[in-house]
Symmetry: C2
Subunit: 292 residues, 2 copies
């Protein structure tokens, strides 16, 4: 790793940065990571959110219902395997599986039907597909997410990272109340914690944004608010999806199209913000005051 | 899911099986999963094992040092992305990204330099590369692992699954003592817990085994002992690697080639064993008696 990449993290033991855009955590850095996730988990229980353990892969067919491949083809990472015929595997092993620069010499691949999860909450909408909810649903998970970027930075921009989400699926009013409550309580939290974080409207990182009507809609009527650390790094976001997922996955709330929204915390980015604000010692964050 | 696939798991709430060889856990099934992992984690602390959080990807260049691509090409899953030139991404989005059966219509791919982790402990040897250890090293992690199989079964055989490992890197005697201690204490544990598990010698699932000298060596001098549930499902294993990883990654113990060994617990398979033995209620497993 270069000194530049590790700026602000030089003296942090228990963080190993890898060239392939991922980090290893152990020791005090891992303890801090777990402490942060316990905090988010406690915050989620204020809403009695159900905790789920989600898969790493999501079916391409489901993601396509969100038009994901048109909107974010540059971010997609897919799990692929070699076609499993003996002939193909023999061809792979008979050659040089890896070249001198560490690139795999692929032979035929099996059909690709999955994607490495790009955002934790997508799984929730897939799992609630075609359901009619009689009350608002609150869900939470800490999931592995994957987004290919043009460059990576330790904890700040990783190919593979972890995201804690707390999600509400319900009526428009229920979702708005959920998101407003979060926004207010987080604003107080950042002030009391003396964490330099400001809320800013944002848009999703669409491919060819100027040609994408979804991007234009987000510009006209912001639905994404990011928690920006030190004016540069989004460590979390509050997202109002309107009825987008409800429509795509035919979820209803008392017979009407369901709305949804989520609060998302980038685990490694929070770790970065806390490490560069307070160092490794004595993390003592205030309580989140939240009236549900 | 078919009734046949779910045999023994019919009444288990909180388990959702997915066609792509993975499961979703929530509610009581997730609570039981976490209880099991807490138990393994407590077992690991008997050895004061350092806990690590590992990346999802492992570099192909490192895996190649283990001759992994020749030995297990049929199991390998790789993360791939589309070549990120505008021309290629435009070609991808201009066509039909997904066909009617849910298969992604790939355009050009970026060079593949990574693999989805096939076994948790590989990362430890990579991270200790070229180090000389002055005392034995005990490490533990619960990691996501990936192995492509010809068919999948809920909790029993998944494309993506979780593995808790406790690893020792040290001298031959230190590693042998570690593994023997585990074998003895686990034998007592299974008897007291009334879990139908027997230890059996096993070999790794090599490609073209009869042509692979590593397979022949394992047949002649067994180094892998599996914990077989109800005579059919390996829910864990005890592995003596001799100096295989020490040599491949130039790790020494007091100047001599390091030995290594690990105890591995398949998390979903343990969940399956416990669910089909005791159901969801009142898991009350005995203490593991282990003198280090």
């Amino acid at each position: 790793m270069t000194a530049d990449q590790m700026r602000g993290l030089e003296n942090i033991e228990g963080l190993i940065w890898q060239e392939n855009g991922q980090s290893v955590l152990n020791g005090e850095a891992l303890a801090l990571y777990l402490q942060l996730d316990q905090m988010f988990s406690n915050w989620a229980s204020t809403w009695k959110a159900e905790s789920w353990k989600l898969p790493i892969f999501i079916s391409a067919k489901e993601l396509a219902k969100l038009d994901y491949f048109h909107s974010f083809p540059h971010l997609v990472t897919m799990p692929v395997t070699l076609d499993c015929s003996d002939e193909n595997l023999n061809a792979f092993t008979a050659g040089q599986p890896i070249d001198a620069s560490g690139v795999v010499n692929l032979t035929n691949l099996s059909p690709v039907q999955d994607v490495l999860t790009p955002a934790a909450c997508y799984h929730f909408y897939v799992a609630h597909q075609s359901q009619n909810l009689l009350s608002p649903k609150y869900l939470t998970t800490c999931a592995n997410c994957f987004r290919r970027e043009t460059h990576y930075l330790p904890l700040q921009r990783q190919w593979s990272f972890s995201m804690r989400e707390i999600v509400c699926i319900g009526s428009s009013d229920e979702v708005k109340h959920f998101l407003e409550t979060w926004k207010n309580s987080l604003e107080h939290f950042f002030a009391k914690a003396k964490l330099d974080v400001q809320f800013e409207n944002a848009t999703d990182p669409f491919f060819n944004p100027s040609k994408n009507p979804k991007y234009l809609m987000q510009r006209l009527d912001p639905v994404k608010t990011e928690m920006i650390y030190k004016k540069s790094l989004a460590i979390g976001s509050i997202n109002f999806h309107r009825s987008y997922f409800g429509e795509a996955f035919k979820i209803t709330r008392d017979g009407e199209e369901a709305y949804s929204g989520c609060v998302a915390f980038g685990m490694e980015r929070w770790l970065y913000a806390v490490l560069t604000s307070f160092g490794l010692t004595n993390l003592d964050l205030p309580q989140l005051q939240q009236k549900v």
